[in-house]
């Protein structure tokens, strides 16, 4: 087997895309043709393939995080437009005014809880990608963490857009046709953006990195949380974050609805949801080990 064949096999084994493999083969083939017999000086084909794969996997993870964040930004605009336009209606529909509560409750969960998960996971993914943008080759486990954050964010983004579509269907007999068409259409477009970001991530995840090293966690991303007493007690971080989310959104609801009772209800709901989110997804986003 020739040096070039061995390199191609090693690149293929590491999931380097076909187009990239073809380019590398042409460039290295030209190099060998310029000076026949120079293969020994080119180095070990396995080490060279590893170097290509590690760097491509790193660049892919960063691109995936950026694509995810961009797609989520579009989804966020759709959600905000839907809420602002809804607030303008005099007859704001309640849960009993729709077709079915089977549609209403998943819709509300999708529109209230999922965006918060998407915001946290998506921001952490893009922040890590930005923070480590000058590193040519990240440890494989760190690349895995960026992908994991982006995956959670994309899943929550999809859940949000599905929630919006369910809301549109649930109130299709109560809300004006222009609103249903506008928001239903915008949510579908945002969904397509999320699909495109998912494809970017799938392609990036196919490249296998071998680089050694630790993935780091949320305390590396946000040094402000780096107190020893907090770092050694991740459950305390989860509890504090849940209380903060509950208090902030409870206060917001109480102010918006002019009702302390509704504020307490919303605050409890959001606090419990944040705690559950931390338990279920904390490891995936690097908030706990």
């Amino acid at each position: 087997m020739s040096w070039l064949d061995e390199l191609s096999l090693e690149l293929h084994a590491r999931g380097v895309p076909r187009r990239e493999r073809a380019r590398i083969a042409i460039e290295l083939g030209d190099h060998i043709a310029c000076e026949p017999g120079c293969e020994d000086r080119l180095g070990d084909p396995r080490a060279l393939a590893t170097s290509f794969a590690d760097e491509l996997a790193t660049a892919g993870a960063r691109n995936s995080a950026f694509a995810t964040f961009a797609a989520l930004a579009v989804a966020a605009v759709v959600l905000i437009v839907s809420q602002i336009t809804l607030a303008g209606f005099a007859n704001y529909p309640g849960y009993s005014n729709g077709i079915s509560i089977v549609l209403f409750f998943p819709a509300i969960l999708g529109m209230l809880v999922a965006p918060q998960v998407a915001l946290v996971a998506g921001t952490l993914a893009v922040w890590r990608a930005l923070r480590r943008r000058r590193v040519a080759s990240l440890p494989a486990r760190e690349i895995g963490l960026i992908h994991s954050r982006a995956r959670v964010a994309l899943g929550a983004g999809f859940a949000t857009m599905v929630g919006v579509e369910l809301y549109v269907v649930d109130f299709s007999q109560r809300l004006p046709a222009w609103w249903l068409g506008l928001i239903g259409g915008l949510a579908a477009v945002a969904g397509l953006g999320l699909v495109a970001a998912s494809r970017t991530q799938l392609r990036a995840r196919a490249i296998v990195s071998d680089a050694a090293g630790q993935p780091g966690d949320i305390y590396d991303d946000l040094p402000v949380l780096g107190w020893h007493w907090l770092r050694t007690r991740p459950w305390l971080l989860g509890a504090l974050a849940s209380v903060a989310v509950g208090l902030a959104l409870g206060a917001f609801e109480a102010h918006a609805e002019h009702s302390i009772f509704e504020g307490i209800q919303r605050g409890l709901f959001e606090g419990v949801a944040a705690a559950l989110g931390f338990l279920l997804l904390g490891r995936a986003i690097g908030a706990r080990r």
Partner: protein, 104 residues
Amino acid sequence: MKSDTLNGQLDPLILATVAEESAHGYAILQRLKERSSGAFDLAEGTIYPALHRLERDGLLTSKWSTGSGRRRRVYSLTRAGTSALEVRRQEWKHFAHAVEAVMG
């Protein structure tokens, strides 16, 4: 000079080499060898991941051309690459000056 010593310096060396004239991988390596009088003992293949990385970072651009009857990828410096090279030159001058002052 072993490749370990070159750690972190290969990128600006490639940029400086391409700044003279657009070139393909083998020609860039030959220029590096000539200008350093063969001082750099690096696995020659290592310049290719570096070239691809510099292109991804927007410091180099490349296009296909045909030379000696073969397709080859020819690299050129971008405007961002020119700026980055100037920054790295200044950093290196300061570093070399400081090391010389200490080492004598």
